[in-house]
Amino acid sequence: MPIYENKYREWKGTPKPLIHRLLAFPRFSYMQLKGKKIVNTVFVMAWLPFVLFTAYIYARVNVKLMESLRIPVNQLWKVNEGFFFVFCIVQFPFLVFFTVMVGPQLISRDIRHKALPMILSKPISRFEYLIGKFLILFLLLSTISWFQGIILFISQTAAVSSTSEWRMLFWKENLWILPKIVIFSLLVITTLNLLVMFFSSLTKNYRFAGVAMIMFIIGGIIIPGIASGIFRNRDWMILSTFYSITSIGLELFSIKEKVPVSPFWALIHIATLWGIALAFLAKKTRAFQLYRE
């Protein structure tokens, strides 16, 4: 005898706002990622540089400890803009790893299994769908880039005693590092995210998208280098996304280094990439396209 009659019942609640719906994308994606050992392992590894940099900061400001170890503090690497820029660059391989691991499946699997009409029949637009997909990598990569950078920056001041004048001095002189960390990280994350979504939207097989992304990153470093060597002209380096990002980063963190790509052209390069990726993403998620796939 049934315990209760199983009848169809309507839901009569009040719908949550749009942001709740958009955050459903990352939430359910992370549920799936949670079971992957390699992703978990590399995610833990991505915190190692942060731990090492924090330990260095602690040692650097702990003068007594350094003296007892007979290490001259003045000769140690200064914690300044360059220090945080290096931290951002150190995190780059981890960002690429997660982009290649997670990104290729974002749209290609939905296209393959024709999930787009089902998802878009809910009260979200195709742009909101893309934002939801964007948030998956964005939030994941944020935790290992600018989020860590900000904690690192705060730990630099927290490591010194509260009465020290040096703390105020550091804040005063280096407060502008914070937005620089965030802007540079956002630039890297957005570029990687849009690129991988672009490749993902081009194919039904996510492996192809992953290979295309790896080829783009590696090829983007090797091919302009070879072309520059053959033609003995450094202008070819403008084709490299990696050098363009580095160039913008050096300019942003005010580091005087000779770069092969001028920051202006580097910005043009990145903006073009974003534009192409966004245009294709908009096209590939158009309704007519959904049924042609």
Binding site: N6, E10, P15, A24, F28, D110, M118, I119, S121
Partner: protein, 314 residues
């Protein structure tokens, strides 16, 4: 009117797929019939806002599809025709995800996911990955995801596709239960007439992007009361020739069963007179009640004849 089509036209590329559709229906259960390529799925996709109308508009629950597409989608549950799922998710997670996309709070979405899966008969397999389920179960998952947020309008695009007879019966049973026990309206798009006949009260028949018939199934079946089925003994040729000369439409069915439609100006006595004249015995004589299939086929034939006539005149 719950559903109003106001000269709705849709072009896909240069091709006119829906041509100035115009009708109004009060809701309930509406069957959308038509041969392949008639524009049924396009109409559903247009109502959902996937495809933009190139002319005219449509209103669902008083909301314009051109201006209030998102609000309409909030009221609608859509079951797509083809395979459609998110890889790697179990039915319960898929439904929860779909619920949250509709704005259900996390807890409600989880509760509804379990409830609806039990309702459609997938309670036992709700933790298995969707891609490992049979085709029939996947169809039910698609129906369940359309129901999770308690839609006011359910758009079912070929819900019995690829189902075995038992699965089809089960699916029809669920759809009928929804129609009978909720306030939800249903638009059932199918080319299987029996499904529509079993579930729906009203029907829209589309052919080549045009509405060729629209109305209540019961009334449409009653329209042609002057159709008869006869079985005769004797030589049928002269009898049939005389009937045709009098303007009757005649066709020979299985086992010598004659289908006859009288013209509006003739009475039933004509059949007896002509039988007497041609010396044939009428062995069976009964009014023929139209099935939906008859109505459907006749409406398609009429448009075809009409179009052929128009072509000849050109």
């Amino acid at each position: 009117m719950f559903l109003e089509l106001d000269k709705l036209s849709v072009h896909l590329g240069r091709r006119l797929v829906l041509d100035s559709l115009e009708c109004g229906l009060d809701g309930g259960a509406i069957g959308l019939l038509g041969p392949n390529g008639a524009g049924k799925s396009t109409l559903i996709r247009t109502l959902l806002g996937f495809i933009k109308a190139s002319g005219g508009t449509a209103r669902v629950a008083g909301m314009d599809i051109r201006k209030q597409s998102r609000r309409i989608r909030g009221l609608v549950g859509y079951m797509p025709e083809h395979e459609s799922f998110i890889h790697g998710l179990s039915p319960v997670r898929l439904l929860r995800f779909m619920g949250e996309l509709c704005g259900l709070p996390n807890r409600d979405a989880m509760e509804r996911a379990h409830e609806i899966l039990f309702y459609v008969g997938l309670g036992e397999v709700r933790y298995r990955n969707v891609e490992t389920l049979s085709m029939g179960m996947q169809q039910k998952v698609k129906l369940a995801q359309a129901l999770v947020h308690g839609p006011r309008l359910l758009l079912l695009d070929e819900p019995t596709n690829a189902l075995d007879p038992a699965g089809r019966r089960e699916m029809i049973h669920i759809i009928r239960d929804i129609i009978q026990n909720s306030d939800s309206h249903v638009i059932l798009c199918s080319h299987i007439l029996k499904d529509v006949e079993q579930c729906c009260e009203d029907v829209i028949v589309l052919n080549r992007g045009k509405i060729v018939l629209n109305g209540n199934i019961e009334e449409l079946s009653r329209v042609n009361e002057r159709a008869y089925d006869l079985r005769i003994k004797g030589e049928p040729d002269s009898f049939l020739a005389d009937l045709s000369n009098q303007g009757c439409r005649c066709s020979m069915g299985e086992r010598n069963l004659l289908h006859i439609v009288l013209p509006p100006d003739k009475e039933t006595e004509l059949l007896f007179d002509l039988a007497r004249k041609n010396k044939v015995q009428l062995r069976h004589f009964y009014y023929k009640r139209n099935t939906l299939e008859d109505v459907f086929i006749r409406s398609l034939e009429e448009t075809r004849e009409g179009e052929e006539y128009a072509d000849i005149r050109k």
